[in-house]
Symmetry: C2
């Protein structure tokens, strides 16, 4: 049959890259492509006890429908533990549980965007956010970055040009894909601009608690006096992505809009997963767990940077992330990393070509490397393979 679909489906195409990346699931490929946590760190034994306890203590509720807002004890833990950890004082009433922060991104699009509305974001920005927003057919205005993140002078120019922009989307800490961190001064300035022009900031912070070194920089939400910042959090990087649990933290009037949207989108997040997370966090210390993750990821980051230095051609540029999961590699401008991936796959190593992180296209000469998911042994071997591929191109 001929499909008569909505206009938005013209903007949502199956990605060629995604098809290529499916190849990375083959066991003999060393993949630096995904944004996956290290599975060997998942607290499986503790969760066995916890899942039993949840069904013992709250079985009927854990398997029944629950409130759209989320399981109240989990909302309280998020307010009292995770939001406090990033300097934000809120109550559980400011928290809506979502299916990972990806669902938060979709809801942001749904609440704010009509066709051709302007979204301001970093250049490059998180691929998943771009895709989520794209379903609402906005225009993307990309703001260039340097080592201190989004260049706020450029942001101001963009806002002057597009004063009706619907929101500023930023990942201030260890940004995906670049690994860069927005400086304190720029956070202050960004918030001032948001207030001056009454444009909300969407602060997406999946990696903020994974800092390996240097001083913690306050979240933008922690400086927000006027309820202009909508904060997205997730347990996918600090706990387990398989549970699909994230949250939106916002002022109550704003949060109510998201609750209405959640009701229509899927009623609620899993009653049982929410309880498993909550019981875990009252029984064990997520802080201790995060310390373990950081220690391992730091080692892997160090090793990956070392391997870049020893194996990649000297001309290749890369970022040095102080936390998170990614480094960003920039090649000579005439090199197309989407093509390069095909060669890399022949050598059984994978990365994500950078082009998809630029919503308006262009910039084919970068790629993203993940250092959290592969063991040290595989990082060494994979980076050697990738070095070989790059040396071939730079010959």
């Amino acid at each position: 049959m001929e499909l008569r679909l909505s206009e938005r489906m013209n903007y949502l195409k199956a990605s060629e890259i995604r098809e290529l990346l499916k190849l990375t699931e083959q066991p003999d490929i060393i993949s630096f492509a995904g944004g996956l946590p290290a599975p060997e760190l998942f607290p499986i034994e503790q969760l066995k006890l916890i899942s039993h306890k949840v069904l013992d203590v709250e079985g009927k509720n854990a398997l029944q429908y629950g409130p759209t807002e989320g399981y109240t004890p989990l909302r309280k833990i998020i307010a009292e533990q995770r939001m406090k950890a990033v300097g934000v004082n809120v109550s559980f009433e400011n928290i809506l549980i979502t299916n990972g922060s990806q669902q938060g991104l979709d809801f942001i699009g749904r609440v704010f965007l009509d066709k051709d509305d302007v979204v301001i974001c970093e250049s490059p920005s998180y691929l998943g956010a771009i895709n989520a927003f794209r379903a609402y057919m906005p225009k993307f205005v990309e703001i260039p970055m340097d080592d201190d993140g989004m260049i706020v002078e450029e942001l101001e120019k963009a806002i002057e040009k597009y004063p009706n922009a619907k929101f500023i989307y930023t990942i201030p800490d260890f940004q995906n894909p670049t690994g860069k961190t927005l400086s304190y001064e720029r956070r202050v300035k960004m918030l001032q601009l948001a207030e001056k022009y009454n444009i909300p900031i969407v602060e997406d912070n999946p990696y903020g608690e994974l800092r390996f070194e240097g001083e913690h920089i306050p979240t933008i939400k922690s400086m927000d006096k006027n309820g202009l910042v909508i904060y997205l959090g997730t347990f996918s990087k600090t706990f387990c992505p398989g549970l699909r649990l994230g949250w939106i933290c916002a002022e109550i009037e704003m949060l109510n809009k998201f609750i209405i949207v959640k009701q229509g989108a899927d009623l609620q997040s899993s009653s049982i997963s929410q309880r498993e997370a909550a019981f875990f966090m009252t029984t064990y210390s997520l802080e201790e767990h995060i310390e373990k993750i950081k220690a391992i990821y730091r080692k892997r980051r160090d090793l990956m940077i070392e391997m870049i230095k020893s194996e990649f051609p000297e001309e290749v540029k890369y970022t040095y992330p102080h936390g998170g999961l990614f480094t960003w590699v920039s090649l000579r401008e005439d090199i197309d990393t989407a093509e390069l991936l095909k060669t890399a796959l022949l050598e059984k190593v994978a990365f994500v070509p950078g082009g998809s992180f630029f919503p308006n296209g262009g910039h084919p000469n970068h790629f993203r490397l993940n250092f959290s998911n592969m063991t040290e042994e595989k990082i060494v071997e994979g980076m050697k393979r990738l070095g070989k591929v790059l040396k071939e191109v730079y010959r």
Copy 2:
């Protein structure tokens, strides 16, 4: 701050009814309002064993990111067990796992609807579907029903008037809210009309496997030769809603659209819940579990109908559902059941006023009663209370 939101937010309002229904969560209220399964039937002990086994056998994968399409063994079980049970022969490649069928409804809206597009539905129709579609700002064309479900002659007139309608939304078995079932002849005719006018049918079938008596009527999907039927299934009524697991079954070209949408909406459904469901269904028999549910619900349906006969004023009309979770009560045309709910709450009993099930408004004189969630003792007591309220109005 002044919120500058998307146009669709004007259509998505917090419902007054929803606020009233929050009161029904008080423990002293006997609520026939929700569409909740009986919690005492949840297989808690089996799930304790299963959740342990999932973490033992597949812990790392159960807590990690997984494919957007869903966990392949669960997709296979759905194709081979649940779709077969409703007479449909498909492969796992026709199945996308969603967060309950509510997410399927949202995706239907997203894939098909632009503003002012026409959705054809039963009058009344499922409140959650209306809300899900409303986010995409369609026009609703309501088709009247009689005891055999949607009147297909009226459907044909509507299609002739709106030949560009995007889809026909129907709940053929034990419809929510009316409990009515679409006759075989009408299913055949509906599919013929869909084919003639190239309009997809969305067949939402959460209750089809909960038939208490009479002969099974083939699903529309089972008669679909041209891939025009998009089928929504769920484990929420036959297993546990707290896991948030449903599915879309469609032809592959169509399903691919939903997969792209799922990717942007929340990446994937819970890795662990999907495995829990799959392990349960390979270890135990869901069929046996469904038989238990049916036996209990049938008793409760019988009891509720008996109580209607003995406690409600004679003039009150009601439907006699052959399965599912609901009966639909119709009062004198001048009675507003939203007002009546306030009186009922004073008597500590609750229902859902019928108005919200009509997308274009009107029809305030009906309400929906659920018989699956309350014990027999509570059905007796609650129906007495409700009878008292009604007798007062009819005095």
